[in-house]
Amino acid sequence: MLRRVRELLINNLHVRREPDEIDPDAPLFATGLGLDSLDAVELVVCLETAFGVRLGDDQELRRKTRTVNSVVDTVLATTETSHGG
């Protein structure tokens, strides 16, 4: 899943890094990988399209997308919930 999230960041969010440069605990926004508020909107769309993840309000978005691993955790939690019925 980490690999897929890294690919999403590079291909859809245009993070100009090689996959191995994107550390799992790297912050996504501001000083980290440099995503901004427009990227946040794109990230929401991408997560729903690619993984079926629906993020609620702005606070949930901020909490669940703080780092690369936060996104991985969110995707895994959604996947496990949907598979668990």
């Binding site: 980490l2 890094r17 090689e18 191995d20 440069e21 994107i22 550390d23 799992p24 605990d25 790297a26 912050p27 501001a30 000083t31 980290g32 990988l33 606070q59 901020r62 909490r63 703080r66 780092t67 691993n69 936060s70 991985v72 955790d73 895994l76």
Partner: protein, 344 residues
Amino acid sequence: MAADTTAIRLSVAVSEASHVSVLRVSGSAAFDALDRIVPRELYLRDGQILHSMLLKDDATLLADLFVCRQDESYLLLSEGACADEISRRLQEQVPVGADLELRSLAETHGLVALDGPYAWELLAEALSPDVVGLPYLGFFDLDPWICLRAGKTGEYGYWLLGARSEIPALMVHLLEVGRRFDVARTDLEALDQCALENGFFNIRREGALELTPIELQLQWRASYQKDYVGAAALRQHRTEGARARVTTIVGDGPLAEGDSVFLDGTRIGRMVNAGFSVTRGDWVALALVEERWAHPGLNFNAAHGDARLDVHSISPPVINNRSLYVHSQRHSYRTRDEQTFPAL
């Protein structure tokens, strides 16, 4: 919860940041000199702060660094390297006689830190409401202070930089106004623990262990596209591949730096930073483990003295920062009890 940690997590705490070195860099050679020691691209507008680091020649960490662009000069705020050490490194990057002015503010200036979900409100009442609009990693003149927004606790964080002689009076003023906010004085130990809980790098702990940005998950602070002190060693290290990486661990503890980490009876690494989280009620640690096991959601054992403890890896931040939910336009410390916030 300890009073000062409670303040950091729920209201606001103040401290003197005497562990931070401040250096002003100016002159026509300032950019070139800085560009050769700072691993990130120096794209900075006036009033912006860049969070970066300084590396040694072997790509291990020398300093945790904020670079602040102030008109045509730069303010460097460093943890881990003093102003004289940074000055020497800057001078090595430019020809003798180059227009490079270096002024350490160590003797003349001091820093006061405010951290907490209502730090913005205390500052607004104590100094100026203009603070409210200051974005993360921005700064502005708040005469006679320079106000920088750059905390390392996951909460709203500000530094006030000004004349050392004015610091005692400022502290008195902040503590007086801060009574309305249940303000507490805090110290570096509590701030470091909060930083650990939020996944912020600590130059005094894991940063002192001769590790590179690859093991420390700090590659976002470095570019592989430019040359700087340590760049060649970092590229070489990347080519060879890092065998280990830090990952955050929690457990009922106690845990301490140096404790070994085991997976199914095999030693896979060691703790490089650890402390008790009064917010969570358990122990939080940073472990350097084999790269293939440096992921959240895994169960390990930690050897602390003769004890074997069950621990597991987790994605930082390991607390749900109140500052994520506090907005200056909708909230106030006075009406906090009328609001519903998620658990920390």
